[in-house]
């Protein structure tokens, strides 16, 4: 008797303990539900935007480019009810712009009429009035995503059409508005059906949400039980509408390469190029059809299956009285209506986005970047980027065919920047620009060869009393002795020595012996000091061989060095990012334009003129056949030992670009900079209608007509005479033998012509 009582007592204890354990478990789950549901909400990726196209009379962008940009933005061709379309004509575009929040304020939806002439925009008007300046919305080019590369665009329940919600409820959880988190009738129905061989989830919307939000996808009894308890708890704490809204934002609806499409907001854009509030009955039904399995019912891959399932959704909605017979029949008759969309994954420009991310990580927590929905406005110009990718890929393919070295093929990298603002417009990290791997443009440090030579000559030209563009430099055999190191005897590319040559020719022809002699005469330290001033931060070895480019730099670093020279001696740190705002558009940070006068304007002007000589009469003459002569490109070729690395760095009036070509495994490419990197550079620039390079002449620079033979003052009777710039009275005083004693200078002739014309026209 006593024994039985004891058993009963123990049993009672056990029940109590079990109940206590359940309470504790429920309490723990409750904490999780409230804590996480409230606190976590959704992680929103940071969104990265390209530069917006600025439209004003005079914008140098052809009509086809504006059209391409509008298409990439998802604008429809032909008039629509909602903004986001354009009409095209022979020489004009009628654009219905969508509203957009820029970093400096909101731009409302508006109609624009843009007329074009061959070079670019002729006029911009809106409702008959002139518009001085208008921006297109910038193209999204990627994001910084949360774990699993989840992407979503949050929507409020009020923005979601009622028919979408009803279709969801009809198929996924018909008792949603009456149950308490779980639905015994649905469970029973599911049990019966699975017993008869048909699998069907009896999960409510709330349970599905709990499963996606808090739990792992394993299918165990314990997990099912936890899910059920949490669903009930969720229903206790939150209203049906809040749960529904969260569900609509959470639900997984497709895959774009490595990017996961979540929520109806993003899915509406991804499949239909529309905002969710504009989805019709049939389109909504397709999204709901995909809830069951976005891969299985992918309308782009399995259109028949998707159509069948969509029609099933429509049928259920009609059966349950959510759709009228007319609505049902009309929707059923509609095609899938999915917009074609090139798959871009997380970004079509991984190299650029990687650079953006690196610059952002200096200022932001990685967690914030992946969850706060920041908006990042960058300088990337898709037109320049595409031209750079195309130029590199096309030429590399051709080199591979010509070389026949076998795989892996040649590689390359391109950096394009605006020399004045230092903004990076394009970054190509290899022949496959979609490959997300080694970023050659930023991380590959390769010997730069002759790309460093301009700095040697720049350093010389800083002493106008000693060196001018016509100062004779000795290109005879040169030996550099230093203690503890073998003698250094640089050879020329053509294996010849050229005797005394003018300074500008030594650079134009890239003579090694002359450059080594000049550099060691001025002092290696002095040259390296200038390299640092121009923007190279990594330590360089103070060896004489450094002068000839025994230095490893990335294409991005080279671009920085040339940017300083290209902007008249003003260093502007290269930047990829312009502004960062919060999700709502509140500005957080601007990455301001900063300049620093690193080199005086006079030597910067002189070295630019000398680098124009490289293209006009030196190693980069190949460009002449690719670009109009008045473009006046300044640049320098670079080739390293055994032709392992080929470079070209140069600039026009509006763009600076650096191209590197070579093999990753350091094989000898047997191609010079002029034969490989230069054509890539030329193709790229030719595609972008470059502005001519026209530098403002500093005050104390005079241009003098020079006889190339003697390096002395020439006049009109000297054959091949050149106008060359000289700093502060450093021009040669003597007259060349070819110049007559009484000869007049070009300036004098110009003066005369001008005063004659003035008189003629009575100015």
């Amino acid at each position: 008797m006593a024994r039985r009582g004891r058993i009963l007592r123990y049993f009672g204890y056990a029940v109590l303990a079990g109940f206590a354990a359940f309470l504790a478990f429920a309490f723990y789950l409750d904490l999780r539900v409230t804590g996480e549901f409230e606190g976590r909400r959704f992680s929103l990726p940071a969104r990265i935007y390209a530069r917006p196209i600025e439209l004003h009379a005079g914008t140098r962008v052809p009509q086809a480019e504006v059209e391409a940009e509008l298409r990439a933005l998802g604008y429809a061709v032909g008039e629509r009810e909602q903004p986001g379309w354009f009409l095209k004509d022979q020489n004009s575009l009628e654009i219905s712009l969508r509203p957009f929040i820029f970093w400096d304020g909101a731009q409302p939806a508006r109609r624009l009429r843009v007329t074009f002439e061959p070079v670019g925009v002729k006029s911009v008007t809106s409702e008959g009035k002139d518009v001085p300046l208008a921006r297109l919305e910038p193209l999204p080019i990627g994001g910084i995503y949360p774990a699993g590369n989840e992407d979503r665009v949050l929507v409020r329940l009020g923005e979601v059409p009622r028919h979408l919600v009803m279709e969801l409820i009809a198929v996924e959880d018909r008792n949603f508005f009456s149950h308490a988190g779980f639905d015994p009738r649905a469970l029973a129905r599911a049990a019966v059906r699975s017993a008869t061989g048909r699998t069907e989830g009896g999960s409510t919307i709330t349970q599905q949400l709990v499963k996606n939000f808090f739990l792992t996808p394993e299918r165990t009894i314990k997990r099912k039980f936890t899910e059920l308890v949490m669903a009930v708890l969720l229903e206790m704490h939150y209203g049906k509408e809040e749960i529904l809204e969260t569900y609509l934002n959470e639900i997984y609806l497709g895959q774009d390469r490595d990017r996961a499409i979540h929520g109806v907001g993003l899915a509406a854009q991804f499949y239909f190029g529309k905002e969710v509030r504009h989805l019709n009955v049939a389109e909504s039904a397709l999204l709901i059809a995909m809830v069951k399995g976005p891969a299985v019912y992918d309308p782009r891959r399995h259109s028949t299956r998707a159509l069948d399932r969509r029609n099933l959704v429509l049928h259920e909605a009609k059966e349950q009285g959510y759709l009228t017979l007319e609505q049902y029949s009309a929707a059923r008759a509609m095609p899938l209506g999915v917009a074609p969309k090139p798959e871009t994954g997380t970004t079509p420009y991984p190299a650029f986005v990687q650079l953006v991310q690196r610059q952002l990580r200096r200022d932001y927590d990685d967690k914030d970047l992946r969850s706060e929905g920041l908006r990042i406005f960058t300088a990337l110009d898709p037109r320049v980027q595409n031209a750079a990718e195309h130029a590199l890929a096309t030429r590399l393919a051709q080199f591979d065919k010509d070389r026949r070295f076998g795989p892996p093929g040649m590689e390359g990298a391109v950096v394009v920047a605006d020399p004045q603002s230092g903004e990076i417009q394009a970054l190509v990290s290899g022949r496959d620009p979609r490959y997300r791997g080694f970023n050659r443009a930023v991380d590959a440090a390769r010997p730069v060869g002759s790309l460093l030579k301009p700095v040697v000559y720049l350093t010389a030209l800083q002493e106008p009393a000693k060196y001018t563009l016509v100062t004779p430099i000795d290109d005879g055999p040169f030996v550099w002795k230093s203690r503890g190191a073998p003698d250094w005897e640089p050879q020329n590319y053509d294996k010849k020595f050229h005797g005394m040559v003018p300074l500008r020719t030594a650079l134009a022809q890239s003579y090694n012996a002359a450059t080594a002699r000049l550099g060691t005469d001025i002092g290696v330290e002095k040259v390296l000091d200038n390299v640092r001033r121009l923007g190279i931060e990594r330590p360089l070895k103070p060896f004489a061989a450094t002068l000839l480019g025994a230095v490893e730099l990335s294409p991005l670093e080279v671009a920085q060095m040339y940017q300083t020279m290209a902007s008249g001696g003003f260093k502007t740190p290269l930047r990829a990012i312009r502004e960062v705002t919060t999700q709502e558009g509140r500005p957080l940070a601007r990455y301001a334009l900063r300049v620093e006068q690193a080199i005086a304007t006079e030597p910067a002007y002189l070295i630019t003129a000398a680098m124009q000589g490289v293209v006009r009469e030196g190693t980069a003459q190949g460009l002449k056949s690719m670009l109009a002569p008045e473009t006046n490109v300044a640049g320098k070729t670079g080739t390293t030992d055994d032709q392992r690395d080929a470079w070209f760095a140069g600039f026009t009036g509006d763009r600076l670009a650096v191209v590197w070509v070579g093999y990753d495994d350091n094989r000898a490419a047997k191609l010079s900079g002029a034969a490989s990197a230069l054509p890539v550079w030329g193709d790229l620039m030719a595609a972008l209608q470059p502005e001519p390079l026209a530098l403002q002449k500093p005050d104390n620079i005079e241009t003098v007509l020079i006889d190339p033979q003697s390096g002395l003052r020439a006049d009109m009777s000297c054959p091949g005479a050149l106008e060359l710039p000289f700093a502060g009275g450093s021009a040669p005083a003597g007259r060349a033998p070819c110049a007559s004693e009484l000869g007049v200078t070009v300036q004098e002739v110009k003066q005369k012509a001008r005063s004659w014309l003035d008189r003629l026209f009575g100015r």
């Binding site: 600025e54 400096d104 300046l133 605006d418 603002s421 001519p692 403002q696 009109m716």
Partner: protein, 128 residues
Amino acid sequence: MRTLAFLLSLFLYSCATRDEAPSTPAAPPPLPETPTARETVAIAGLMESARGDAAAGRLVQAAGTLERALRIEPRNPRLWHELAKVRLRQGDEAQAANLAARSNSLAGSDSALRAANQAIIEQARTTR
């Protein structure tokens, strides 16, 4: 009439040099005249809004607008000058001086602008 005279003189000059000297001009050609009158409308608008922002103390906004203008006309010395003024007001004397020097390097014969830039450089020097 003036434009015609200018074009004609350009034409005559180009003929003249070709006839009189078989030379290739090595010096970078001079800065082209201010682009088109229309293009300056866009810049004028931005400059005005930047001035308005600066006057109202919205200096970050003003600098951003000037940078936007500089992307359109990077060789307009007045824009660099305006940006220098904004930086000076923001207390960034080093940048102000550098930007004023940048403006000077593009100012050509605009002596009033040069004087104004010089004043910024002086002021930056004394404040620092």
